[in-house]
């Protein structure tokens, strides 16, 4: 147990520089805007007085390290500054937006795992048709752009069949059934490509494990095939699958930006896109910071989970 604890601590400590680099990068975004970012934000007709006022409001005249110190201190207290257009505090805005993005990405990932792992196992152990069908789905899922698939789903389920609303959102706490109706198409859209990746990884990992001597031993011993495949082989094949789930979560967060815009979901992704078009830099920064932090936290959790599923990983980290 001791070396596992050391593995966890080591991984936690290694996350600190990653968070630091990410926060500096996102902090610098507004400072890297060519020319004067305040003039870009206010438009070319801004009066010099207005420019001076906004510069002071954003503390752009302080030394760079002091700006970073103040910004990061605020962020750590949940104070992300205020929306440049609506003057609303960004902390509250983000508190409304984050649950939507989390709901979308987590449900998509759960659906992709629940559908992808069994299909991947079937692709590894099943007959020719199971293999062909899953391979076909993988090629389809990887090649079709997610937002186009989303639009086609809208055309089918909202346009032709009118079973589901085409876009919009109701919070889960207001109306759970309505919430699920609104989130279903976005989740299907986002989950399709993920499912394909998970099928592909599961199949590859299972094929690797099924060729190992202990499987031959279990067969010779007369263990039921079901128990060999789902009990012994899948457990040994789980670590690479968990790794891919973690990596793909980053892709999902990126995809969420597009899918939220497509389905008019009030999540962080849509917030960022709208803010970029309005040159609303404080909102862009806050949104990017939140998504990047989610990504880093999920990577950390994945690594820890993989370390526990497969003790060889945590042992390697020790040496």
């Amino acid at each position: 147990m001791n070396h596992r604890l050391r593995f966890v601590l080591r991984r936690l400590v290694l996350t600190i520089p990653v968070l630091l680099v990410m926060s500096v990068f996102i902090f610098l975004i507004i400072r890297l805007v060519p020319g004067d970012p305040v003039r870009t934000m206010l438009g070319f007709r801004a009066t010099p007085a207005a420019v001076t006022q906004v510069r002071a409001q954003l503390h752009l005249d302080d030394p760079l390290w002091a700006q970073y110190r103040d910004w990061i201190a605020g962020v750590l207290h949940g104070d992300f500054g205020e929306d440049f257009v609506s003057k609303a505090p960004l902390g509250e805005l983000l508190a409304q937006r984050i649950p939507v993005t989390l709901e979308l990405t987590l449900l998509s990932m759960i659906l992709a795992v629940v559908a992808g792992v069994p299909l991947g196992v079937r692709a590894a152990v099943g007959g020719r048709w199971a293999r062909r069908l899953t391979e076909g789905f993988v090629v389809f899922g990887v090649s079709v752009p997610d937002f186009w698939l989303g639009i086609m789903l809208v055309l089918l389920f909202a346009g032709t069949l009118t079973w589901l609303p085409p876009s919009g959102y109701i919070p889960f706490t207001d109306d759970p059934a309505g919430n699920l109706q609104y989130i279903l198409l976005p989740v299907l859209t986002l989950a399709a490509a993920e499912t394909a990746y998970i099928i592909r990884t599961t199949r590859g990992s299972m094929l690797g494990v099924l060729g190992r001597p202990f499987i031959v031993y279990l067969r010779a011993k007369g263990t039921r095939e079901r128990s060999i495949v789902y009990g012994h082989a899948l457990r040994n094949a789980a670590a690479p699958i968990a790794t891919v789930v973690g990596i793909q979560f980053g892709v999902l967060l990126g995809g969420a930006i597009v899918v939220e815009t497509l389905f008019a979901l009030p999540g962080v992704g849509r917030l960022i896109v709208t803010a970029i078009n309005q040159r609303n830099y404080p909102v862009v920064q806050a949104g990017l910071f939140v998504v990047a932090t989610l990504f880093i936290v999920v990577s950390l959790i994945t690594d820890l989970v993989v370390g526990f599923i497969d003790p060889r990983v945590s042992d390697r980290g020790q040496s």
């Binding site: 990653v18 680099v21 990410m22 990068f25 996102i26 975004i29 890297l32 805007v33 060519p34 090629v139 990887v142 090649s143 079709v144 752009p145 997610d146 937002f147 186009w148 639009i151 086609m152 809208v154 055309l155 346009g159 980053g250 892709v251 967060l253 990126g254 995809g255 930006i257 597009v258 815009t261 497509l262 960022i272 896109v273 970029i276 078009n277 830099y281 862009v284 990017l288 998504v291 990047a292 990504f295 880093i296």
Partner: protein, 288 residues
């Protein structure tokens, strides 16, 4: 003498590799050749001016003269798709070429020398992986502002660390082979060993990864343009066409369906080619 032998064996290997490629990979390559020809010859292939507005043909259904129908401004969707291929493929080609050309020397040096050279090259590149890919692209666009060139640069920036990593791993494996040791023992300078032995033998995985990434670059470019952050109207781009088609989805689904299928075909072709190449050019399994 040695140089000639390396080159001939390289050519022979490349030729036999093409011949031995699975049928799916050759199909992928064939589709890409056709699509590249369409992109280059766009003005000759497109039956109409892609930006010509025709008030008589607003949202007109597909017919013989306009096989993909017309959009909300009466523009010919087929001609626009042909020209959009040109825009998308140019951006993707530029992005992947720039990323590969920068990743090649960086990855090779990091893999061959290791130690502090590796640290100086690899650590800054790792920082680019701190953000999810699309987010990195969007951050760059947030700084510089939207546009085709920025989209190409953003995609190159996403791919640089991935390609450099692959090239580093590949160069590392090759650097431990006997023939590299032989070159060193003969007293060649490190640069000569790298040029004659390491680069030619370590190039395969980079090419495979570049082919696979090119397919996804088409999707990223389309996603950025769809969000209004990439190619700007009126230039025809696959992502912009999807964004236009969305507004008239129920009245005229063809405005949406054909550009989407076009993207799927390009990505599919790159995937088929990349997967086929992987088996032949990446025996160590360096490519993720």
């Amino acid at each position: 003498m040695t140089t000639t032998m390396t080159v001939t064996s390289g050519v022979r290997r490349a030729r036999s590799a093409v011949g031995a490629l699975p049928r799916s990979a050759r199909a992928g390559a064939a589709i890409l050749v056709v699509l590249a020809a369409v992109a280059v010859l766009a003005p000759l292939i497109a039956p109409h001016d892609p930006n010509a507005i025709d008030s008589a043909r607003i949202l007109a259904a597909p017919d013989l003269g306009h096989p993909f129908g017309s959009d909300a401004l009466g523009r010919d969707v087929f001609s626009r798709t042909v020209f959009a291929f040109r825009t998308s493929l140019s951006i993707v080609f530029a992005a992947v070429a720039v990323a590969s050309l920068v990743a090649l020397p960086l990855g090779t040096l990091a893999g061959y020398f290791g130690g502090w050279v590796d640290q100086i090259i690899s650590r800054p590149l790792d920082m680019l992986l701190v953000l999810p890919a699309l987010l990195l692209a969007i951050s760059l666009i947030a700084i510089v502002g939207p546009g085709s060139l920025v989209a190409a640069l953003a995609i190159a920036l996403i791919y640089l660390p991935i390609l450099a990593r692959v090239q580093r791993a590949s160069a590392l494996v090759v650097s431990q082979s006997g023939f590299v040791e032989g070159g060193r023992a003969r007293g060649w300078s490190p640069l000569a060993v790298i040029r004659r032995h390491v680069v030619p033998n370590a190039l395969g995985p980079l090419l495979v990864q570049a082919a696979i990434l090119a397919g996804f670059a088409v999707q990223i470019e389309a996603a950025l343009s769809f969000l209004g952050l990439g190619t700007q109207p009126p230039t025809p781009s696959l992502g912009l066409m999807l964004s236009d088609g969305r507004d008239v989805l129920t009245q005229a689904p063809w405005v949406e369906i054909f550009p989407g299928l076009a993207i799927a075909v390009v990505v599919l072709a790159f995937n088929l080619l990349g997967d086929g190449l992987r088996r032949h050019l990446d025996p160590q399994g360096v490519v993720s």
